[in-house]
């Protein structure tokens, strides 16, 4: 199990903000992704129509998910593949381990997969004597570092190039220590040479899936490095690990959603590779695996259907929400404390690991709405974060002092006369605290505020009392 540190979100965030390397690395996210997405979206006239169409496709799938899943299974079997239903992460790990053991696998190459992170597949394989090898460059880097992805499409976005160089020097000890590693190309070439050996010697290849196509039993991945292709065609066995909501009815549906996916994610028109795989190698095929398995993971998703969180299952994991999130920009992905960071994680993680553990995440948002505005699937992320806050409030999971102060404030706000009196007293009191310079340097009940900012002092009396006097003076004039 990936260690869950979400309950320590505040402390995580503080250390992330004090981490100079991380802050340097995050500079990339703060603009590149955003500018590229904006250009890509503006460059396609039908982009907004495609978003609507993508939403409609996924909404339809979620209404009939059971039927499409059965159809998909039927088609996978027809093409010679196997489908394994995994209700939990442990089930999925067990099924993958079984396949690997039966094959006598020693090495497993892996394409980038967040579901594999969700079920902590690498730890499970390693604990059973099977070496997992990440083949996506970013994943490879963080595997060397013993870390987890900090972004769902750019897993090593928190790492600087200098750090990568140090990691390569430390781990690739069979190479001369004085070799030149100052350019990105040199790092890339070195990783590629090492991975090439791994591709050729792997017994099993594991990939995720961006889509599962029900009409044909096809799994689809989009990548930029081509590592996914080598992972799934070279080893004898290909295992696809995917969650149930990845289903789309037809290839046409898939190709529509693909058009918003890369544009929203990296600003590309298309990812460099869009790879479709259907079943194992057929007679006459030049390449492909002997066995083709699909592990279908639920892990709490089916219980989101029919709830206020159903729309979250439309997510296509493009990462646009985190790319545009000021909170993510400030703290990076690891601070969120589990697999999925940013706004989509703030909604999904409480569903998957429990709101008792992930309770901070939906609260740590200013509700600026930028995530929703760029989400290609129009997922109302702030609204769903608010739904989590409601559940926390109802279940008394939010801190008692916070709940108490909100209830107390609301009690007063429902009594206008009392409210007027308290507002007037507060305006006067804060005015006094403002002193000569009209600002408050330290305010015990709002120390979080005054630790970093001054509190501008009020003007002295409330608008309502000034308005009443103003109205009275007008009457007096008549």
């Amino acid at each position: 199990m990936v260690e869950i540190t979400s309950p320590a979100f505040k402390a995580n965030a503080r250390s992330a903000m004090a981490d100079e390397q991380l802050q340097k690395a995050m500079g990339h996210v703060r603009h590149n992704f955003i500018d590229k997405r904006a250009t890509a979206a503006a460059g396609l006239d039908e982009f907004e129509d495609l978003r609507d169409s993508a939403v409609a496709i996924k909404n339809h799938v979620l209404e009939y998910l059971d039927l499409y899943l059965e159809k998909y299974e039927e088609k996978v079997i027809e093409s010679g593949g196997h489908v394994h239903w995994a209700a939990t992460a442990a089930d999925a790990r067990g099924q993958i381990l079984d396949i690997c053991r039966k094959a006598g696998a020693k090495t497993v190459t892996k394409g980038k997969s967040m579901i594999s992170e969700e079920i902590a597949l690498n730890d499970s394989l390693a604990a059973n004597g099977i070496e997992p090898v990440e083949t996506d460059l970013g994943e490879y880097i963080i595997q060397l570092r013993g870390e987890h992805p900090s972004h769902i499409i750019a897993p090593a976005v928190h790492v600087t190039m200098d750090q990568v160089r140090e990691d390569f020097l430390k781990h690739h000890t069979h190479l001369p220590p004085d070799r030149p590693l100052d350019e990105p190309e040199q790092l890339l070439r070195e990783a590629r040479a090492i991975l090439r050996e791994k591709f050729l010697s792997a017994d099993v290849g594991v990939t995720g899936a961006n889509f599962l196509v029900a009409e044909s039993g096809t799994s689809v991945i989009v990548t930029n490095e081509g590592n996914g292709d080598l992972t799934q065609t070279l080893p004898r066995i290909h295992i696809v690990i995917a969650s149930i909501e990845k289903i789309v009815p037809t290839l046409e549906d898939m190709s529509q959603i693909v058009r918003v996916l890369a544009r929203s994610a990296t600003g590309q028109d298309m990812s460099v590779y869009t790879t479709l795989s259907t079943g194992p190698r057929r007679e006459g095929d030049p390449d492909g695996p002997d066995e083709y398995h699909v592990v279908l993971l639920d892990n709490g998703r089916s219980s989101m259907i029919g709830t206020e969180f159903q729309d979250m299952l439309r997510c296509i994991r493009c990462g646009a929400c985190m790319n545009h999130c000021p909170v993510y920009h400030a703290i990076g992905g690891h601070a969120y404390g589990w697999v999925y960071p940013g706004p989509m994680g703030a909604v999904l993680s409480p569903s998957l690991i429990g709101v008792d553990k992930a309770g901070h995440l939906p609260n740590a948002s200013t509700f600026c709405g930028r995530c929703e505005s760029v989400c290609p699937m129009h997922i109302p992320l702030p609204k769903m974060m608010r739904h989590w806050r409601e559940r926390e409030f109802e279940k008394h999971l939010s801190p008692a002092t916070q709940r108490g102060s909100i209830r107390g404030w609301a009690w007063v706000a429902k009594r206008p006369l009392l409210y007027r009196t308290i507002a007037s007293l507060s305006a006067r009191f804060l005015w006094l605290l403002g002193g000569f310079n009209r600002r408050i340097k330290s305010l015990p009940l709002a120390s979080g505020w005054t630790r970093h900012r001054d509190m501008p002092a009020p003007e002295g009396s409330t608008f309502m009392s000034q308005w009443r006097e103003h109205q009275a003076s007008l009457k007096g004039d008549l």
């Binding site: 909170v327 200013t366 916070q402 706000a413 900012r453």
Partner: protein
């Protein structure tokens, strides 16, 4: 819609709790702008708060109670106008969600929500105001508050009016549409993150080198002004309504007098 004898639209000012407490001059500026634009303006005296702090804290029951009070107080007017995109967004966009599925209130809240506007968008989009009479000599940068921008589409309206002020030069900052880190309770509950976000914001504000920072929401303004004051910045901070009304002789937010050096 009911019209008074003068055929002026009957407009109720939703003052907002922050303006009431911290910056009454924004309320008076709003009154001036609305009356100058030909409105028959009233300020319902039993108003308190729109309930957003409860709504964003997950307290639906209290939100409902507060929303009902607002609707009862204001639904009789032709229009309800607030000098805040956040509070107007609460009344216009969130109230219907608060009462979703409530057979008794659903229709009533819908009729109410249709009449709610943020101040600058009401002036430009409804009253078709093209310009204001104010004279303010200052270089100004404008921050787009999130709720106004993304819930209500307010972006061009305040700029159009600000640009019509004699003496004003609008200097856009980088990322004017990115959150300032306020987020209501967020700024206190997650103050360190909020601080990181507002620090980025004040860097962008300073880089535009204006005399004056404007925005349409007092929450964001208190946050940005609080940070600018802590950083000993000389940029003065005001609500856009004050400047549109030409009311810039009083002290800026968080200061005893202007130090911005505007001519």
């Amino acid at each position: 819609m009911p019209k008074s004898i003068s055929q002026k639209p009957r407009v109720a000012l939703f003052v907002t709790c922050l303006v009431d407490l911290f910056r009454p001059s924004v309320g008076f500026a709003s009154v001036k702008l609305l009356e100058d634009a030909g409105c028959d303006l009233e300020v319902p005296m039993s108003q308190t708060c729109c309930g957003q702090p409860a709504w964003n804290s997950g307290d639906r029951e209290d939100t409902k109670d507060l929303a009902k009070a607002v609707i009862k107080n204001f639904e009789g007017y032709d229009y309800i106008v607030a000098p805040s995109g956040s509070c107007a967004g609460m009344l216009k966009k969130h109230y219907p969600e608060v009462f979703a599925g409530d057979a008794i209130w659903e229709e009533r809240v819908e009729k109410f929500a249709e009449k709610v506007y943020e101040l600058t968008s009401f002036l430009v989009d409804v009253l078709k105001v093209e310009k204001v009479d104010a004279i303010v000599k200052a270089d100004i940068t404008y921050h787009d508050s999130c709720a106004g921008l993304r819930e209500l589409g307010i972006q061009e309206q305040p700029r159009k009016l600000v640009n019509s002020i004699k003496g004003v030069k609008l200097k856009e900052m980088k990322d004017s549409d990115v959150c300032c880190g306020f987020g209501g309770m967020f700024s206190v509950k997650y103050s360190d993150i909020s601080n990181s976000i507002v620090t980025t914001k004040t860097e962008n504000i300073e880089a535009a080198s204006p005399h004056m920072l404007l925005a349409g929401d007092l929450g964001c303004l208190l946050n940005m002004a609080g940070k600018l004051r802590r950083q000993e910045s000389s940029i003065e901070v005001r609500h856009v309504a004050e400047v549109l009304a030409g009311m810039v002789d009083n002290a800026p937010i968080g200061e005893r007098a202007s130090k911005s050096g505007r001519p």
